[in-house]
């Protein structure tokens, strides 16, 4: 009797399935999250796996597909119709202390076809806000616009923001005076201010730090990768620098004023010299501001001078920059980014390049000459970069040399910290717990941690359904447990994120936004999908009724 009853119920349930399917659209295809291989980016990979597991709870079929770095970047960047979702990261850089660079480039519609808006997020309302914050010079009003932009992105969820990582830097406290390790907002202690102010405790006066990657050529017109830029910013001065507080401050320029919304006037510091002993002149400053705009010979830096209409001298050491339109971030995104380059050295190079296909990025002087607090000594591919303190600089460093060792083996770098071959572990991509344990085995080593302004996220390709549906994006974002990712994938060396503006940039960050992801739980995410018409059939998520799956699965 019992068996008969169960059979009846089972058959009834089975017969109901086609009917349920008719009340739903096609099943959502298997979604693929692209990631770099676990060996290359273990934390991101694990985070992607955790996101995939969360999405599976919504009835989605999800795979994490690891691709070698080149192929990964190639597909995400140049094959924008092909992929569903991808892990991605923005690293912290001093010039990103002003949110403009990311605010504008990541989400503005004009960048969707070929620029950094590779997810294809299109929202005129956001475009208006991004432009408004750029043109608003009143900092309070600008902050309000930026908060509004963050709330808008929170509403639309073009990315599944995961975490803001913490920077973990180990250093030998018997070699370096703790109090001279300067924390820069959103960057941590591995920054320009630490290198120029670091005080040795004893005879060891060389900073020896590691890099896991091989830097590209050092040039004032090449935006080197993260590690290369650490060296470049020491060799070449800039008119302004981002201070430890995250705000731009005069550097090679003694004073900087903004008489009108479209003009900037500055006076160059007197007595500056290039590393070859010749004086830094106002002509050099003008050249440095104009050269990136010469034709297509400096494509990396060209966007940073695109808003400059005119540069003219207004005194023996003073100049005026006239902008085409107001630009609130100009002091950060341009004056704190452009390197001062010697006209005597680089003008003939640019002249020569006029008749050649090459650009300035690919040119490296035999002995790079800047005017910065460190002089270039040598670079050996896959071996080391050596800089020495510039005794003629007004901010003469207290250390003798800055030596970057190129060590791809991160375990060997940990060992080198223990043995004293390194005295700053500046680039650590391994397990945070191993690093945190280092002081226990060697009390001379201390760890400095600081919240980074960078972000790690899953980017949703809005060109491909169902990611084009805001309701779907909100639901899958809600299902992501950011705290668990920070704790487990990042070993606690990260905090939950829900914006491109890190809490490390406290002034600009929307307060508490990480806790205000719409929905915020898997249960809420399921309800959001249901409310949007998505249907679970036999545990698998289907589109709303009448919607066909028209997108080919990622191959």
């Amino acid at each position: 009797m019992m068996k008969h009853w169960m059979l009846t119920v089972g058959l009834t349930a089975l017969s109901a399935l086609p009917a349920m399917a008719q009340q739903a659209g096609d099943p959502v295809r298997t979604l693929v999250i692209l990631a770099q291989p676990q060996a290359a980016a273990p934390q991101e990979f694990q985070a992607a796996e955790m996101v995939a597991e969360a999405w599976k709870q919504l009835g989605l079929q999800v795979q994490v597909r690891a691709l070698p770095s080149q192929q990964f970047n190639q597909i995400v960047w140049y094959e924008r119709q092909r992929w569903d979702a991808t892990t991605w990261q923005m690293v912290g850089r001093p010039e990103r202390s002003d949110p403009d660079e990311l605010t504008y480039n990541l989400f503005v519609g004009a960048n969707a076809a070929n620029g950094y808006n590779f997810v294809g997020y299109l929202n005129p309302e956001y475009d208006r806000l991004a432009q408004a914050q750029r043109e608003e010079l009143d900092i309070t009003k600008r902050k309000a616009v930026l908060i509004e932009a963050q709330e808008l992105i929170n509403r639309d969820q073009p990315y599944g923001f995961m975490v803001h990582p913490k920077n973990l830097i180990a250093y030998n406290a018997t070699v370096w005076d703790d109090s001279t390790m300067k924390v820069q907002a959103g960057i941590g202690v591995r920054n320009f201010w630490t290198w120029i102010g670091l005080k040795p405790k004893g005879a060891q006066k060389d900073v020896i730090l590691n890099s896991t990657a091989t830097p590209t050529n050092l040039s004032p017109f090449n935006i080197a990768g993260a590690q290369g830029s650490w060296a470049a910013e020491l060799v070449w001065d800039r008119l302004m620098r981002i201070g430890p507080d995250g705000l731009p401050q005069p550097w090679a320029a003694e004073t900087v004023t903004r008489p009108t919304t479209t003009t900037v006037e500055l006076t160059l510091r007197a007595g500056m010299k290039w590393h070859d002993g010749t004086p830094v002149t106002i002509d050099d400053a003008i050249f440095s501001l104009e050269a990136p705009g010469y034709g297509d010979k400096s494509p990396m830096y060209k966007p940073f001078v695109g808003n400059i209409a005119k540069v003219e001298t207004i005194g023996p050491m003073s100049l005026r920059i006239t902008l085409k339109r107001p630009d609130a971030a100009f002091l950060v995104s341009s004056l704190s980014k452009l390197n001062l380059a010697s006209r005597k050295i680089w003008a003939p190079i640019f002249e020569d390049l006029k008749n050649k296909p090459e650009t300035a990025e690919t040119i490296m002087e035999k002995l790079p000459v800047g005017s910065g607090p460190f002089k270039f000594v040598s670079v050996k591919l896959n071996e080391q970069i050596v800089l020495e303190a510039n005794p003629d600089h007004w901010a003469k460093p207290l250390i003798n040399r800055w030596i970057m060792r190129i060590t791809p083996n991160i375990e060997a770098s940990l060992g080198a910290m223990k043995s004293g071959e390194l005295n700053v572990l500046a680039d650590y991509t391994g397990d945070p717990e191993l690093l945190m344990a280092l002081p226990k085995s060697n009390p001379n080593i201390k760890i400095a941690d600081a919240l980074d302004m960078g972000i790690r996220f899953i980017a949703y390709n809005e060109r491909r359904q169902p990611f084009g549906d805001v309701a779907f994006r909100r639901a899958i974002s809600a299902a992501i447990d950011r705290d668990a990712i920070a704790a487990d994938a990042y070993g606690g060396a990260a905090v939950a994120s829900n914006s491109w503006v890190s809490p490390a940039l406290a002034f600009w960050a929307a307060p508490g936004i990480a806790k205000r992801v719409p929905g915020g739980t898997v249960a809420a995410a399921k309800q959001m999908l249901k409310d949007a018409g998505y249907v679970l059939v036999n545990g698998r998520l289907h589109y709303p009724v009448g919607v066909k799956e028209t997108t080919a699965a990622y191959q």
């Binding site: 080149q70 190639q74 660079e101 690919t362 591919l381 050596v386 060590t407 060992g415 223990k418």
Partner: protein
């Protein structure tokens, strides 16, 4: 080989502009960079330019390092050659002696322990061996440095100065020991096997009957004849190791050709990768030729064109 490397890299996914991605990167930036690298031209035109330059001995300019490929390779090659020569010589010297010894003392306890040990080191992944040695001899004891070819900040004006310095050899010790342990299995087993064959030959029986000493029979008669395949393997191993030290060079941050190749391939630096491949291929071909010549010199029976 040159044509193959040219095509291979262009078929691989990714292009060098990927290295320049930044929030301000756009199509205009990409077009300018592609033009700068000469990648805006049709493939056939790139190929003829590349081959033309190659015929003139010009390997081109690295896309990312701002230096000629020849300079970058010339910096790395001596490091790799020395690492290879030292480790291979040590491996073969040990392998030959140990192989001959084991053949002569066949069936004993020593053989029962040695053969599995040789096979184990031969089968163990290089990175694992390297990390074990690093943990034991560098991290724990501090006897050897953890990586690199010279101490941090050490500047050498010439290769001669570098190779004459104790610092260089101190840094070479662990990577060379790792490679030596990894490589010694082949010559040991080869020598042992060949020796076992040779020891049964009639001329060895004759030598014994003549009342020659044990040393003389083994070393002067048997070992010399058993050496032929080992010499060939040495030359081939030398050629293969020039480009095959990628793992050891990475574990020990040794600035050799293997790491140049990895760096170049990872960043789609076509000229540098092509140059490294051509160098490796040329090493292999050269060493194969030398192996043939050495074989002919050591064994008149295999001389090309020998009178019969």
């Amino acid at each position: 080989m040159s044509s193959l490397t040219f095509i291979l890299f262009r078929l691989a996914p990714g292009d060098p502009t990927i290295n320049f991605l930044s929030p301000s990167f756009n199509e205009e930036t990409r077009a300018a960079l592609m033009k700068s690298f000469g990648l805006d031209k049709p493939l056939w035109e790139q190929y003829f330019i590349y081959m033309g330059n190659l015929l003139q001995g010009n390997l081109g300019q690295s896309f990312l390092q701002g230096k000629p490929v020849a300079v970058l390779l010339a910096d790395a090659l001596p490091n790799t050659v020395l690492l290879t020569l030292v480790s291979l010589t040590a491996a073969y010297a040990f392998g030959i002696v140990a192989g001959a010894f084991l053949a002569f003392h066949r069936g004993g306890l020593v053989e029962a322990v040695s053969i599995p040990a040789a096979l184990a080191t031969r089968a163990a992944p290089e990175f694992w061996l390297g990390m074990l040695l690093l943990a034991g001899l560098a991290f724990q004891t501090g006897w050897f440095p953890t990586g690199g070819a010279l101490s941090p900040g050490r500047e050498m004006n010439s290769f001669a100065e570098r190779f004459m310095s104790g610092d260089f050899w101190w840094h070479l010790a662990l990577p060379a020991l790792t490679l030596m342990l990894y490589l010694q299995g082949l010559p040991l087993l080869l020598m042992r096997a060949t020796m076992l064959e040779v020891l049964n030959d009639e001329f060895i029986v004759m030598a014994k009957m003549k009342g020659l000493s044990r040393w003389s029979v083994v070393m002067r008669h048997a070992a010399r004849n058993a050496l032929l395949p080992v010499v060939t393997a040495f030359a081939l191993g030398l050629g293969a190791s020039i480009g095959g030290n990628v793992v050891v060079e990475t574990v020990f941050a040794w600035p050799g050709i293997g790491r140049v190749l990895v760096t170049a391939v990872q960043s789609a630096d076509y000229p540098l990768a092509q140059g490294a491949f051509i160098l490796i291929a040329a090493s292999l071909v050269t060493m194969n030729t030398l192996a043939d010549l050495a074989y002919a010199a050591l064994d008149p029976r295999v001389s090309v064109g020998a009178k019969r």
